[in-house]
């Protein structure tokens, strides 16, 4: 089922959490709502679920396929919702938690007892917790609780699955395991899914599409590749990973960047892995002279920190192979050069992004 939001605004008192958003989630896709806290991503998810209602506006609609559900309560939308802190029913066993949505159905729609039991057992198998059916939620680990919450949401065969920071409360290792598992599950079930996260790595790894949000508005929508390699705004670039900011100016029509203070300052933004280290500046008149400050070789990449002549810190990530070609140590004077002439994101102040 596809979901379309049209002209949705949501205010709390005088604060606009969502500012006139229009957006479509395609059928069967797994979409990430990515943004910092306070960007409105959770509010947007809750609007889709019906846990919040949008501000009154004749233009605003929330369409499930073609049906407008904007004024329908959560209980009638048939959505599966997974909360950050699980929200399992604490007085019910795992089995009863998963069966809840089926047991509260109207008598006419409610499946017979045997069918409920079969469906719950099937879901228990899916979440690999068959042996835990009679445990109470308090006897489970965080990762297990979240899987039960997911099974509970799936039990009612929802047309859409909504997950609010589903892995936010889990520790790092369980988190990576669980998100891989969620991706596999989605590939099996193909249910339209939206999940909220502030973790760019999680969004890039799991989602088919990413909606980057900032201050109640959408900054960019696209595939992980699109938002990572072709960010639409400086905010998106900054949010999807570390970035170095160089001040300087562009030399006329060429894309050559000069790091000189002028009357027309520009900014060049370059990710740490898109900079190379040169031991001498021969043939590279634009290379930036810097002093090595820190070298961290423990990790998948070598992390280097340099200080330039303006006392700015510059982060560089090198592969171990590149690092052995240009080994540096703290105190050493070297030169830096962005790897490509066309940097992923270059805007001058005149174009509206500078300060």
């Amino acid at each position: 089922m596809s979901i379309t939001l049209q002209n949705i605004t949501k205010s709390f008192d005088h604060f606009q959490a969502i500012k006139d958003i229009s957006l479509t989630f395609k059928d069967g896709e797994l979409t990430a709502l990515l943004g910092p806290s306070g960007s409105g991503k959770t509010t947007l998810l809750r609007l889709v679920a019906g846990l919040e209602l949008p501000d009154e506006n004749p233009e605003s609609r929330i369409l499930f396929n073609d049906a407008d559900v904007a004024r329908k309560p959560a209980s009638q939308r048939n959505v599966g919702f997974v909360f950050q802190h699980y929200a399992l029913f604490r007085h019910m066993t795992v089995f009863e938690n998963i069966a809840f949505g089926l047991r509260v159905m109207k008598r006419s729609q409610r499946p017979p007892k045997a069918e409920i039991r079969d469906r719950v057992n099937e879901l228990l198998k899916l979440i690999q917790l068959g042996a835990m059916a009679n445990r109470m939620p308090s006897q489970l680990s965080g990762g297990q609780r979240q899987r039960v919450a997911l099974a509970r949401a799936l039990a009612i065969r929802p047309k859409v699955l909504l997950l609010d920071e589903p892995f936010g409360a889990l520790d790092a290792k369980v988190r990576t395991e669980l998100r891989r598992w969620l991706r596999e599950l989605h590939d099996q079930l193909h249910i339209t899914s939206i999940f909220v996260t502030h973790d760019q790595e999680e969004a890039l790894e799991v989602a088919d599409r990413i909606v980057v949000m900032n201050q109640g508005a959408i900054e960019q929508t696209g595939t992980p590749d699109e938002v990572f390699h072709h960010p639409a705004s400086e905010f998106v670039l900054q949010f999807l990973g570390d970035v170095n900011v160089f001040h300087g100016r562009f030399n006329g029509s060429s894309s050559r960047f000069h790091r000189i203070d002028t009357d027309h300052p520009s900014r060049m933004l370059v990710r740490p892995h898109e900079i190379e280290v040169l031991l001498n500046p021969l043939g590279n008149p634009d290379a930036i002279p810097v002093q090595t400050h820190r070298v961290l070789t423990a990790g998948a990449v070598v992390k280097l920190e340099f200080i330039d002549s303006l006392h700015q810190s510059i982060q560089v990530h090198l592969s171990h192979a590149d690092y052995t070609r240009t080994p540096v140590h703290p105190g050493m004077k070297v030169y830096l050069r962005p790897r490509s002439q066309y940097n992923p994101f270059v805007r001058s102040a005149a174009n509206g992004y500078g300060h």
Binding site: S75, F81, F89, M92, V104, A153
Partner: protein, 279 residues
């Protein structure tokens, strides 16, 4: 207290420990256990038969009926009020919320006699609404409605007070989860909210019940002490005592004391159950 459970900085010498424990036990014995023993001792001084006769005396029976009636009305009403108040105060944030929480505590802060007087001033023959009530032949003061109102007032905080912190701590996430799973508000309330607050609610009801049966001050002001009509057990005890019917007075008092003991037992069971549920 067991020394092992003390924090290292609080470790005391054996002598001090014994002295403090002894003082506590002595105090408990002198002020709680001794009076209790005297109540039962006096009540049964002339044997079980005399005790029994004092209880089945028509005036005493009337007082028992009155106490049960007042409790049977005020406790259920307080359950409803208490849950409604706790629900609205813990699940919603609104302006003036803290003021309302303070107001719920008012009956704790006010002397019960004052609570009773409030109702006399409102509904008494010379009170604000007295003339109107008189015209319509409605009796509140010196009648059952007045006693129920006074009891409701003094017992109001027990259920709400118990539930507000519990429901605030539990938040609204489970209710929201139930709604997204298709449950109606009604089903969510009965299947999620009530089971979650069950033990806190029972605890509050036990305390509320004990106070409703035992209330003296507020009820004394509004009841008018009409024998066989508007006397409750505590009032009946006082009347008998003032008229030097000591054995009868203590017999009636022993009923209240039994209620107190039962309350303590139930309270402990509920506390133990609650702890078990949380662990």
């Amino acid at each position: 207290m067991n020394r092992v459970t003390l924090r290292p900085g609080l470790r005391s010498s054996k002598a001090v420990e014994i002295a403090i424990t002894a003082a506590t036990l002595l105090f408990l014995g002198a002020f709680l256990l001794l009076p209790l023993a005297i109540v039962f001792g006096e009540a049964f001084r002339q044997g079980v038969r005399v005790w029994m006769e004092s209880i089945v005396n028509p005036e005493a029976l009337s007082a028992i009926r009155m106490t049960l009636l007042v409790t049977a009305i005020s406790v259920p009403l307080n359950i409803v009020f208490g849950i409604a108040a706790a629900w609205s105060l813990s699940k919603f944030r609104f302006r003036g919320r803290n003021l309302v929480i303070t107001l719920i505590d008012l009956p704790f802060a006010v002397s019960p006699v004052i609570s009773g007087l409030i109702f006399v001033l409102l509904f008494g023959a010379h009170g604000w609404l007295g003339p109107w009530l008189g015209e319509h032949n409605i009796r509140i003061i010196f009648a059952v409605p007045g006693i129920v109102l006074a009891t409701l007032f003094v017992t109001f905080p027990y259920v709400a007070r118990e539930l507000i912190p519990l429901m605030t701590e539990q938040g609204t996430q489970e209710e929201q989860a139930a709604l997204t799973l298709g449950a109606s508000g009604w089903k969510t309330f009965w299947k999620v909210t009530i089971p979650n607050i069950k033990w806190g609610l029972i605890y509050g009801v036990i305390l509320c019940n004990a106070r409703a049966m035992g209330e003296f001050g507020a009820v004394s002001v509004v009841s008018g002490h009409i024998r066989g009509h508007t006397n409750t057990l505590p009032l009946q005890t006082e009347i008998l005592y003032n008229e030097y019917h000591f054995t009868a007075a203590f017999a009636v008092a022993s009923l209240l004391a039994m209620l107190a003991l039962l309350t303590i037992v139930l309270k402990s069971v509920v506390e133990w159950k609650t702890k078990e549920c949380r662990s």
